[in-house]
């Protein structure tokens, strides 16, 4: 039997479309930028003029075209190992978006599941989960990341894991709070009265109603993760060189900000655009998802 999960009229595409129509120009521009970045990321290998890791030690630190000493073909100049900044930025964009997407998803799954569990089961389970949340809140995440990277090494997988764990407690808190709120809603009781078991309630009645706060949190954590990744790189704990991520490029390139700023400008701008677009999207979805505001 096929289970077509209800697609509410408030589903994401519908909401997005409704919002797009009612959006002011600034938001439209921001969203267009976001879309453009994603497209750039997807086609990075095709667009990038060079191998992002190909070094050319003799032409290190060349400024972008149009400046003195610029190197033919290297639009945005070269970095400290003579690699093409443009190509690295594009590949970095791809990897960063991927890391952020995976990380945010992981956090969502992990935190969301725990939160759901806490909210639905209650009692001891809830107390345990919430104690873990409290603990996480009390320990700065940078340190958690440091430990994890130290224990597990800083391969891409581990970094995704670490980034995914960042903010799990937010998901858990949100989901648990929503679940608790929803569990008190008469429609849940109505479902129980209809004979629905816990699984059915979770899947058909709770989840669809938690989706929109989760989507908002998801967008938030996307941009958080992009920033976190750059912080890790700043601390020398990010993705291993020579692999380019935006965070790594900025984190490592910071020493060159006074002397060769072009190394940092492109990736930093990309980070700025990503987080900017994502933030606006999240804010926007929040407005869209807010029933109270919509009633107006």
């Amino acid at each position: 039997m096929t289970h077509s999960i209800a697609v509410p009229a408030t589903s994401l595409p519908a909401t997005a479309y409704r919002l797009w129509r009612g959006a002011d120009p600034i938001r439209k521009v921001a969203i267009l930028i976001g879309v453009m970045l994603v497209v750039l990321a997807i086609f990075a290998p095709l667009i990038a003029p060079f191998d992002p890791n190909a070094q050319s030690l003799i032409s290190r630190l060349r400024p972008p075209l149009g400046f003195e000493r610029a190197k033919e073909g290297y639009l945005l100049g070269t970095d400290e190992l003579g690699r093409d900044v443009l190509s690295r930025s594009l590949h970095g964009l791809q990897l960063t978006l991927m890391l952020a997407g995976l990380g945010a998803t992981l956090g969502l799954l992990f935190g969301g599941t725990l939160g759901l569990l806490a909210g639905v089961v209650g009692g001891r389970t809830e107390a345990t989960v919430m104690a873990a949340v409290d603990t996480q809140i009390a320990v700065p995440f940078t340190l958690v990341a440091l430990f994890l990277l130290a224990i597990l090494g800083s391969s891409i997988e581990v970094i995704v894991l670490v980034l995914g764990l960042a903010g799990w407690e937010q998901y858990a808190r949100i989901v648990r709070g929503e679940v608790r709120r929803l569990m008190n809603m008469p429609f849940i009781e109505a479902a129980r009265a209809a004979g629905a078991g816990p699984l059915r309630i979770a899947r058909h009645h709770l989840l669809p109603n938690i989706v929109s706060p989760l989507v908002v949190q998801f967008t938030l954590s996307l941009s958080n993760i992009v920033l976190l990744e750059s912080t890790l790189s700043f601390l020398g704990l990010g993705v291993q060189p020579p692999t380019a991520t935006l965070g790594a490029m900025v984190g490592i390139g910071r020493d060159y900000m006074p002397s060769a700023p072009w190394i940092v400008v492109a990736p930093a701008m990309m980070i700025l655009f990503i987080t900017f677009a994502v933030q606006i999207l999240g804010d926007w979805l929040r407005d869209g998802a807010d029933v109270k505001l919509r009633a107006r």
Partner: protein
């Protein structure tokens, strides 16, 4: 009320204990301190010698007990690296960090609450959007980029502001702004949302029906309610964001703070410092959160009396 306080305390204690334990074992799991403490190029017998000197050869559980016991002597052991009591090291670093955090928080509140209110009131006009755009900018720039950028402009080129340490009030300007950037973005957005929630409430209409001016309605009735919601996140989110930010900011501005200390202790596996440092920070966060909770309960009359006795 008493039982509430007791429950809160118990919960804090449990959280604390969990953190103590996790931190202890996490530090041991994350590599042998000897590799970091004594560094490179020693023979294996010397290595053994140092391992036993640093008491790292004792069974893990014994170390754990010793660690717990070190809570009682007021010094919390000797730093592997700095060779002085951990309590001295950590305590000396806490105050500068707290100062910075306080400054950043003050700036954040001063900026983001008015901004959030403006953004909420004019949510449909360009003003609201513009405010949010500016706020989002704060979120969008990695704080170290902002810090270095400011440093280049205001110190390197203009030579207006000092960059090293925390000596004078001038020293606070750039670190505070760099640290507050993200916080402002977060809190502005939060204030706006809380304010939007409040703006739609019935009692706001009541207040207007009384003939109160719009400003009065917004500040006295709106902000007072939104403030409670805002308060509840300050403890939760802000602490985390600030802790993450301080690491980077402190490094860049050579701020003798705890964030910098913890990272270097973690990197060098200076267990005693790391353990006690994390605990201190955790304790601070826990206490701040508990205070925020209390303030929250105090500010929200609905929570002031959890249960009113029967008649």
């Amino acid at each position: 009320m008493l039982s509430y306080a007791l429950r809160t305390l118990t919960r804090m204690a449990i959280t604390f204990f969990v953190i103590v334990t996790v931190v202890f074992f996490a530090t041991r799991l994350s590599g042998n301190a000897v590799d970091f403490v004594v560094g490179d190029g020693i023979t294996s017998e010397d290595r053994e010698l140092l391992i036993s000197y640093y008491e790292l050869d004792r069974p893990l559980f014994t170390q754990y007990l010793a660690f717990l016991k070190s809570f009682t002597d007021g010094q919390f052991g000797l730093s592997f690296i700095e060779r002085r009591p951990v309590s001295d090291i950590v305590l000396e670093r806490i105050w500068p960090s707290a100062q910075l955090l306080l400054a950043a928080m003050t700036l954040t509140l001063l900026v983001s609450i008015p901004l959030g209110i403006v953004a909420a009131i004019w949510r449909d006009s360009w003003i609201g959007s513009a405010v949010m755009m500016v706020a989002f900018l704060g979120y969008a720039v990695p704080n170290f980029v902002l810090a270095v950028l400011m440093m280049l402009i205001f110190s390197y080129w203009l030579n207006w502001l000092p960059v090293v340490g925390n000596g004078t009030a001038l020293h606070f300007i750039m670190p505070t702004i760099a640290m507050a950037g993200v916080l402002i973005a977060a809190l502005t957005r939060f204030t706006r949302n809380a304010m939007l929630d409040v703006l739609g409430q019935d009692f706001m209409r009541t207040a207007r029906a009384k003939g109160l001016s719009e400003g009065h309605v917004i500040i006295k009735h709106g902000l007072r309610n939104a403030g409670i919601t805002i308060l509840s996140v300050i403890g939760l989110q802000v602490a985390g964001i600030a802790a993450a930010g301080s690491v980077v900011i402190e490094a860049i501005f050579s701020w003798p703070g705890i964030g910098d200390l913890l990272v270097s202790a973690a990197v060098r596996r200076d267990y005693p410092v790391l353990q006690f440092g994390v605990l201190t920070v955790a304790l601070a966060v826990i206490v701040i959160n508990a205070l925020v909770d209390l303030a929250y309960a105090w500010a929200d009359p609905r929570l002031r009396h959890t249960v009113k006795g029967g008649n």
